[in-house]
Symmetry: C2
Subunit: 164 residues, 2 copies
């Protein structure tokens, strides 16, 4: 998931476009990797002006909202090692964007909550990433985007349509 793109100006049609004939071009895994890689570049570029990357933005986003996530929950939800969460939160906390609070029923765990400043920054950053997402998918129709979102959610969460 971790893959980067050399030239962000050209979405995917360089001198290697002929390789799209290959059989792997129809692998959903491969397409997922490519679209995700391209999106990461756009997202990180959009988040740079806020001093955030995809990772820190995700943590900040989860720290906003009234559900006080545990560091372990963050790690599991973001598919990251717990030690990586420590580093991410250290940085966000030093910048005054989130706070570590002791767990309510279990004092081993630490709940991560966004500060007021964190929420403000998140709102601005959210606009930027959503704009980047729209730009990346602008060749898709509204129906296609909705369909993509819905299918991805079903695939990721094994099909419980409980959430908006």
């Amino acid at each position: 998931m971790t893959q980067q793109v050399n030239d962000a100006t050209e979405s995917s049609g360089g001198a290697s476009a002929r390789l799209a004939e290959s059989s792997i071009s129809t692998d959903i895994g491969f397409l997922l990797a490519k679209l995700h890689a391209a999106g990461s570049v756009l997202n990180n570029a959009a988040l740079a002006e806020f001093g955030l990357k995809e990772r820190s933005y995700s943590v900040l986003a989860l720290a906003c909202g009234d559900l006080g996530p545990t560091q372990r929950e963050l790690a599991e939800f973001l598919s990251l090692d717990p030690s990586q969460i420590v580093a991410l939160i250290d940085e966000l906390e030093q910048r005054g964007l989130v706070e570590r609070k002791p767990g309510i029923s279990d004092r081993r765990q630490k709940l991560v909550a966004a500060t007021e400043g964190g929420r403000t920054l998140h709102a601005a950053a959210q606009n930027a990433t959503q704009a980047a997402e729209s730009r990346q998918l602008e060749m898709l129709t509204g129906e296609e985007v909705a369909s993509l979102r819905s299918i991805l959610r079903k695939a990721v969460w094994s099909g419980n349509p409980a959430d908006r």
Copy 2:
């Protein structure tokens, strides 16, 4: 990109499922990352018995098929640095799965072609990855899978439906 998952037995419903309420859960970029991360784990697990990973499998797959890709084309197509391609091909070549041939019209470039053994291994590995993909998406209907594939291709290749 490039994210990993800790527990492959459980697709996404662990103790952190409640975090799915968060707003990022509807970000296509986030969903892409999560599905891609989970798929990578499955793919790498399926490819391990052949001594391959996603990267080397992709290179091998592109080396099969009659289009003789250049190392630079491979780098661009796979969104990798050219130096990473060198290492990947070194390994595949040492195992006798691919060969480096001098470029036809340009002797600077090297064409990568699979050997007979490489093709045999690729065929077996392809079965394994396709089975893994089917397993990962088994909760989707056939229509949904087809729709997902088609939309992803359109998004990745900016909408030229020139390729099957």
